[in-house]
Structure formats: C-alpha cells, structure tokens
C-alpha cells in the first residue's frame, strides 16, 4: 500500500520543465513541440501517471460523469438500456453514475435536488414523477438532461419508443384475431408512455368501430402481481373480456399465470399481448405476443444525444421516436389453442 500519487509536478521535475508544459503535452494541445510531448508521454507512462479527476474537474468545471436516474434495473428493459448507455459512455470516456428511484417520486426528487453541476456533466432520466419541479430545478442549474422511456411535456430532449403505434398495432392484431372484448391493463394515469399506449389502444378500437368499455381499462402498478390482480378483477365483471393488451410484458405474464389458474386456454380462448419483448416471452408457455422495444438503441441514442448537449451549450431539444415491432407468438393466435 503505497498511496504514492504521481502528479504532473513529478513529471515536470524529472524532466526539468514546467508543469504547464507537461499539462499541455498530456492534453495534446497544438502548441507544444513534438519532442517535449514525446518525452512527457514517455515519462508519464514510466511513472504510471494517472490524472486526478477531482483536480481536473475543479479547474475545468466538468467531471466526465453522467448520471442515470431510473426506477429499477432489475428488468430486461432498463438493464438493457443501461447497457446501451454504458457502451457509448465508455467509448467517450465518460463514467456513469447510477441512481435508483424505486419508482418513488419522493426519492427521485430527493436524489435530483442533491445533484450539482459540480458532480455531473449531464443526466439521463426515466422519470416516475408527475410533478416536475425537481427536474426544472436541475435544468435551471444548467445541467443538460435527456429523457428516455418515461418522459413528460417539458422542453427537453427525449428518446422514446413509439408507444402509440405499438399499442395501436397490438390492439388491431387482437381484433384481427376475432377478439371483441379487449381489456387494457396499464400503469398509473400520469405517465406519458402509459397515456400513449392507452391512446393507441383506444384509437385501434375506434378505428374498428368497437365500442369502448371503460370498465375494461384498469390502471394499477407495473408489476407481474398487479397484472394477476387486474385479470382477477376483470374476470369478476359480468361482461368478461376475451383478450388483454397489457402495458408491458410483466403484467401480461401476471395475467397469463392467473388465466392458467382459471384453466382458460390462452390463445384459443383468450388473447394476450404484452409490450417490451422481454426474452421471457419466448420461454413462457404459450409464448407471448408483444411489441418489441429497442432498449439498447434507446440507451445508445439517449447517451449520444446527451453528450452532444454537454458539448454544445444551447443545442435545441430534439425528440427521437424509435419504432417498435409487433411480434406475433402463440398467446394471441386462436389456432394454436391446444398448446399450453
């Protein structure tokens, strides 16, 4: 344990030149002679010099850290988004700092109010909030923010999947399979992506002149358990649904588990469609029809966008919408009724 820290001073001393020259050589600025630069780089390698990020950050006003704020990482979608973010961040020499809100608005607000420009060059966020004061506060501080997945109506850059069209197609597909009483089990009302998927569902029904039945639309949490509960409640209606479009795969799977318990043949007698394309869709029986989201690309693009905002101060906000794709599997096809 030596804790010896090599600084540019050490290099300067050994080479009998000034620290500013060393600093310039290391940063590859134009105004330093090739020989000096070479000497400095050699010596730096020899001494195993590593820059001190605190010092650099302090003098330059930046840190090369970007923050990611999101509800969870224990699911396919978010962990894949992060992987996409990480790829870009790593390429451009940025570190990512992870903050988990646990889907708590209070927690999210608390985390953000403690963030400073001194600790973070920018933020990527999938917000769970319905009130945006804390986000405004951060933006006002001058910290670049890019939203992904769960956004809002603030003027900021966003990267999302095409929730509306995905939901429209999913619902239209169920209709095309002859399902007439399609329920929608979804999340809290105040989420933007939830609203978009709901609208896709509603417009698909309208478009096919199927009457909308409010009692078939259930707002609840996003978890598998919530999906199971929602289905249970729906099946207690006098006029039961014959299909479900779920806001995500988790809830769809919760519903499937419940349907199996009720001995209802998924596919043949009851259509189920999810959203995300979690790998589990192909493993569960019957396999689950869903709308795929390009989670990795969303992370990648969001990070690229954030880096642009960090580099250029007043870059106008942009909104990127990535198309989804309906992936038809057994859970929504009537002819494969005797699988399960």
């Amino acid at each position: 344990m030596l804790r010896q820290t090599i600084t540019i001073k050490d290099i300067a001393r050994e080479l009998n030149i000034s620290v500013s020259t060393v600093s310039r050589a290391l940063r590859d600025t134009f105004d330093v002679s090739p020989e000096t630069k070479h000497l400095v780089l050699e010596k730096a390698k020899e001494l195993k010099y590593k820059p001190n990020f605190n010092a650099r950050g302090l003098s330059q006003g930046r840190t090369n850290n970007i923050g990611i704020i999101l509800p969870f990482i224990t699911n396919y979608y978010f962990s894949t988004v992060i992987t996409g973010i990480q790829k870009i961040a790593y390429e451009f020499n940025y570190n990512i700092i992870l903050y988990l809100t646990n889907d708590s608005e209070e927690r999210e607000s608390l985390i953000m109010s403690n963030l400073t420009l001194s600790g973070l060059d920018g933020i990527l966020i999938s917000t769970c909030a319905s009130n945006y004061d804390h986000i405004h506060e951060v933006i006002d501080k001058g910290i670049p923010v890019v939203f992904f997945d769960r956004t809002n109506n603030l003027d900021a850059s966003k990267v999302v999947q095409d929730d509306y069209n995905g939901a429209f197609e999913a619902t239209a597909h169920l209709i095309s399979q002859g399902f007439m009483n399609i329920a929608h089990i979804t999340g809290p009302k105040d989420q933007m992506f939830t609203q978009n998927r709901l609208n896709g569902y509603l417009n698909a029904l309208e478009h096919h002149r199927i009457p909308i039945r409010k009692e078939l639309i259930i707002h609840n949490g996003f978890s598998q358990e919530c999906g199971a509960d929602d289905l249970k409640n729906l099946m207690e209606e006098t006029n039961k649904p014959d299909a479900i479009f779920a806001v995500n795969d988790r809830k769809a799977i919760g519903a499937m588990v419940q349907l199996k318990k009720l001995n209802i043949q998924i596919g043949r007698d009851f259509g189920v469609v999810g959203f995300t394309n979690d790998p589990i869709c192909t493993l569960i029986t019957p396999t689950l029809t869903t709308v795929s989201e390009s989670a990795f690309d969303i992370g990648r693009i969001a990070c690229e966008l954030l880096l642009k905002h960090i580099q250029k101060d007043n870059l106008p906000s942009t909104e990127e919408i990535l198309p989804g794709e309906l992936i038809i599997r057994e859970s929504s096809i009537r002819s494969t009724g005797d699988l399960q």
Copy 2:
C-alpha cells in the same frame, strides 16, 4: 440557464464571516458557536448551496464514489446485486459508478488500469479474469477492493454464496429422485465459483457411490444458448444422461428448451436443476428446481464491507459465505411427469 454556482464564499460574504467558519459550520465541527452554525445553515438553505464534490475530493483526497465492475447487468442475479449495493451506497452518501466488462478479461484489465484512487474510493468487483495482474495493480495503489460472486484466491475481502453446498444439495436431490446419469453443464474452468459448484457435484456423486463420468461434465459459456448446445451434445453420447445439474438457471433453461424440442418429458424422464433462482424459474413450464442465491444481500453485504475498508485503512480481509437454499419445483420431480 444561469450556471450560477453558490460557494461557501458567497455564504461567508453575505454573513460577513470567514469561509473557514462557514466550512466548519457546514461540516458540523464542534468548535463553532451554535448561533453561527444556525445562521450559516439558514443562509445555505436560502441560497440553495450545494457542496462542490471535486473541490472537497481534491482537498480531502476522496470522492465518495465507488466503482462496480461486473460482466453484465442484463440478468436477474447481477441487477439484483447492484440494487443491494445501491441501497447501502445511497444511505451512506456514496455514488456508484458502473463498469461493464462484457465478460472480457481484456476489457476488465483495461478498465481497471485506468482507475485511480483520485476517482474512486473503492471497488466492488465480480471478475471474469484468470490472470490477476490488473487487480493486484489496483490493490497496490491502495484502493480498497471487495470481491463478490466471482472471486479468486487473492488476499482480499470476498462475499459469495455457498456454491459448494448448493451444488452438493442440488445433485443429491437429483440422486434422491432416482436419476443415475447426472450431467453437469457449467462455465469456464478457471472461475472459482464454477470450480466450487463442480466440486459440490462431484462430491455428491462420490458420497452416493455413483461413478463419475467425465464425458458428462461440459465446460462452455454461461448463456442460455450454451445450455442448449451442451444438452444437444450430451444427447449424442451413446450413454445418455437422464438428468442435468446446470451451473446457472440460464443454462438450465437452454437445456429445457432443447429437451422440449426432443420431446423428452422434463421431470418424469429427465431431471433438471439450475442455480440462482431467477424469477423465470416459476414461469417456465415445468417450473425449474434451483438453488437460490441471496443476490440482494450479497450486494448489500459487499458494499457494507467495502465501506468499512474505506474507513479503516488496514482492516484485515474477511470472507463472507451466504447460504443458498435448494428450491424444489417440477423439473426434478418424477411424479409430475405429465405437466409440461
């Protein structure tokens, strides 16, 4: 966009006191009068003062950042470990910086050789390496390191699950169900946890006087696809296995997918046991017997341990082994043969 940064100087000026007093008051040191402290705290809140971490880190030589280095986050185990780490880190006001190695030793080495004490107070790592030079290098720099899950024989603190006993129990369970030709599909040989699970498997066989057949032990990657491939290869043996103990649930599931294609009745005719207790175990048909790992606790405990090492310079290394638990489900029980 104001980018106005409030510093202790601003507070000092407004209150007509010195910066050192402000600094003391904010840090709650004993030698400052209650009134002054009160005034400072009030003013800090009024001006929305936030400390500059770069400056603090520079003068104190620490950052309140800890690094997590692991292969992936897109699976249940690792994402849950991180969630555990995050909980503790957040409580103690530490940020976590995420590095993904993609299971590449080269990448891991590259990442670590760029880490410095100036950027990180400590490191939590699940290593994919077989050569530990880069890890030694970091430890020699004086950066505290705690290993979790994938460890090695270095003298450092470790937090792992009880791989040996979990594997022993899993194998013994298959034997108790009457399976006699139990294969083991696992990962690369040079991983410690892989070795431990292999040893548990081998000793369980020995203990029940079942001859060990080397051709039933397959080293390959950790993915679901590898599991499917392994099974395919095993079934081409003249003396086929009648059960599999997989090093993790992913591989077990890959094997199950393949068994289904071959129309082999899992449970009744072929036993399968995994390791991890990924939630998918209860969703797949038939449900998968497995050894549960306390992923969240491993993260929690590893982080707590790291913080202790950060606080106390020469704390002796400790090794924490968390017990697993065999969770018996359909895939290993002969009597439920006609599920699937």
